[in-house]
């Protein structure tokens, strides 16, 4: 992001593209899940990736976790392109980049105890020597995620715990290797509402105390605003708007962001009228030329359908992929 002095990012995605071949039979289709996605995850910062289902946000997380191979693009860790250097993720990479999954009922193995889940990464990455140290570390991890006393949890199996507790265990497991980057894929969307703030606040604490670079993938832009420093909005596999959280939420430039913000229910205020945007699904197969949102945009112009929009920067750090963005002068609010 130009215009602002910033430390080098810990993990960076450059131009990530992912095409899936779907459908069996004689006519397999190409599904373009991601196109030219670039992200920077900075130390001690939370970056939110907001989008609806089908936007490609989970695919970005999976590619950064190296569970899925990108069709094109680079993943840069500390300045080195890992996709080129290690076709298969090394143990070193795994020790620095960890992931938290969406479903707390599926991300823990029902056949193993909690102690096993937390001890395995410690042993695998050589973080402890001997049983006493192992036990102490497990207890410390449980305490860090707010599960006390540790002995009440170590011998239990996942099926004996609630969703909120399981998600905290999943976070503890990710923290065991002392990662620099945490990729959280919709960590609260399957939790009860009363438990979500606890997990979000835990993420804030991890950012402040451990200085992790956190990627928060979500469909809920309200929680993204609560927790993150930067927000990137995705539509049809592309980032259409990104910038500081307050800027994106208060002065959205892209019509899709405006639609998203207007559609979110807010208990404290009257609902805003939805902008006049046509109903439609994001085009992932048979991708049109030009802007991917052109089919729904109320302000569409002929050039929108022919030429893909370049990324504009109406305010420092605030970038939008749209032809019609006004470039504001610095004195405007």
């Amino acid at each position: 992001m130009s215009g602002r002095l910033e430390a080098a990012p810990v993990l960076e995605a450059r131009g990530l593209t992912k095409v899936f071949t779907v459908g069996t039979g004689l006519r397999p289709q190409r599904l373009r899940a991601l196109h030219d996605v670039s992200l920077r995850l900075g130390k001690g910062r939370i970056t939110a990736l907001v989008g609806e289902s089908g936007s490609g946000k989970s695919t970005v997380a999976k590619i950064l976790a190296r569970l899925v191979r990108p069709t094109a693009g680079e993943i840069v860790l500390d300045g080195r392109n890992v996709v080129a250097e290690e076709p298969r993720a090394s143990l070193a990479y795994r020790g620095r980049v960890q992931m938290i999954f969406q479903d707390p009922f599926a991300s823990l193995n029902p056949a193993h105890t909690i102690a096993y889940h937390l001890e395995r990464p410690l042993v695998r990455h050589g973080k402890v020597r001997g049983r006493a140290e192992r036990r102490a570390r497990v207890a410390a991890l449980l305490h860090e995620v707010g599960l006390d006393p540790p002995d009440a949890f170590t011998l239990k199996r996942p099926t004996e715990l609630s969703g909120g507790q399981r998600q905290r265990i999943a976070i503890a497991r990710a923290l065991a290797v002392e990662p620099d980057v945490l990729l959280a894929d919709e960590p609260t969307s399957m939790l009860d509402v009363s438990l979500r703030m606890g997990v979000l606040n835990l993420m804030l604490r991890l950012r402040d105390e451990r200085g992790v670079a956190l990627l928060y993938v979500t469909h809920d832009i309200a929680s993204a605003r609560y927790v993150s420093d930067e927000i990137s909005v995705m539509y049809a596999g592309q980032i259409v708007e990104s910038g500081p959280a307050e800027a994106v939420v208060r002065r959205p430039e892209h019509p899709y962001t405006q639609l998203l913000l207007a559609a979110v229910p807010d208990a404290q205020q009257d609902p805003l009228p939805l902008p006049a945007i046509k109903r439609g699904a994001p085009p992932l197969v048979d991708v049109p030329h030009g802007c991917l949102f052109a089919g729904r945009c109320p302000d569409v112009e002929p050039r929108c359908r022919k030429v893909p929009p370049a990324v504009q920067e109406p305010a420092p750090g605030h970038r939008v992929r749209c032809h019609l963005v006004r470039l504001r002068s610095p004195t405007e609010p």
Binding site: R66, Q98, M99, A106, S107, L108, R120
Partner: protein, 297 residues
């Protein structure tokens, strides 16, 4: 293990198996030499020879008891090997996907469509007759079925987040397969083992009946071979094959009972439903498609 022991089907099945296990282990010391000539051939059951004599004048009961050991050993060893190969290949196919999966699936399908019996005959002709050959033959012709089954479940487990989490944690392929995926397949593995053993028992007896086993050894299958050879049906000597057949059927039945019990245990919903039906019946409420009303107040 303990809930298994509380289940009636399991208890019955385990009981029957226990009897045969005792026979297999201790039997040969109790009965006499099965191959010795003890009385006139084709003698019906009497107080001296409880199951009569064979066409060669040998004691049927002695043969039955001594034959238990080899027959059951072959059946269980085959069951274990078939399940192991099936698990290994099926789970590997599911886990790796892509070209490896295609290759392993092709291998599985080839072995599936190979006709078992002719292949068994061909192999038996070229190899020395005996229980080892039979085991090998049965494993070769039997592993593919379980591989398909286990692959299906491994596929659905592979997509679960905890497998992804283990991969992101840096675990090796082997570790993920053995420590993450397989432990969640225990009930299917047990079920596969039991059905493989039942298959092995029946197929083994069948092959030996056809004369493909070592006919100089005493097993349930060779007993049936000799019974047929000695015209047991023509002479009406039912004691030469009916008890043997009954034993095969009993062991198979015991295994099926245990299979049912394992199925029920791994499906708690079935148990809950049974409890619910029982309670409603006791209160005299009819079970219909709609939620019943059972007033306690």
């Amino acid at each position: 293990m303990s809930p298994l022991l509380k289940n009636r089907s399991a208890l019955a099945g385990l009981g029957i198996l226990a009897v045969f296990a005792v026979l297999a282990l201790l039997g040969p010391w109790i009965v006499g030499d099965p191959l010795a000539f003890v009385a006139r051939p084709h003698e019906p059951p009497s107080t001296e020879h409880w199951l009569g004599t064979t066409g060669q004048g040998q004691d049927v009961l002695a043969q039955l008891v001594v034959g238990t050991r080899i027959t059951l050993a072959v059946a269980f060893v085959t069951g274990v090997l078939v399940t192991m190969f099936g698990a290994l290949i099926g789970t590997a196919a599911a886990y790796f996907g892509g070209r490896i999966e295609n290759a392993l699936s092709l291998l599985t399908n080839v072995f599936l469509i190979m006709p078992g019996l002719p292949l068994a005959v061909v192999i038996a002709v070229y190899m020395p007759a005996g229980p080892v050959t039979i085991t090998i033959v049965l494993v070769i012709t039997g592993w593919a079925w379980n591989a398909r089954l286990l692959r299906a479940q491994a596929l659905s487990l592979r997509e679960r987040d905890f497998v992804m989490a283990a991969i992101v944690g840096g675990e090796s392929h082997l570790r993920v397969i053995v420590c993450e995926i397989l432990p969640n397949m225990t009930s299917l593995l047990v079920s596969c083992f039991i059905s493989a053993t039942i298959y092995a028992l029946g197929a083994q007896v069948g092959l030996e009946f056809l004369g493909l086993g070592d006919i100089s050894m005493v097993t349930w299958g060779t007993m049936l071979y000799w019974a047929s050879n000695d015209a047991a049906l023509l002479t009406g000597s039912w004691w030469m094959f009916v008890p043997t057949g009954l034993c095969v059927a009993l062991v198979g039945f015991a295994l099926v009972l245990i299979n049912f019990a394992v199925d029920e245990l791994s499906n708690p919903r079935l148990r809950a439903e049974r409890a619910w039906r029982g309670r409603l019946r006791r209160e005299g409420v009819r079970v219909t498609a709609s939620t019943p009303v059972l007033r306690k107040r």
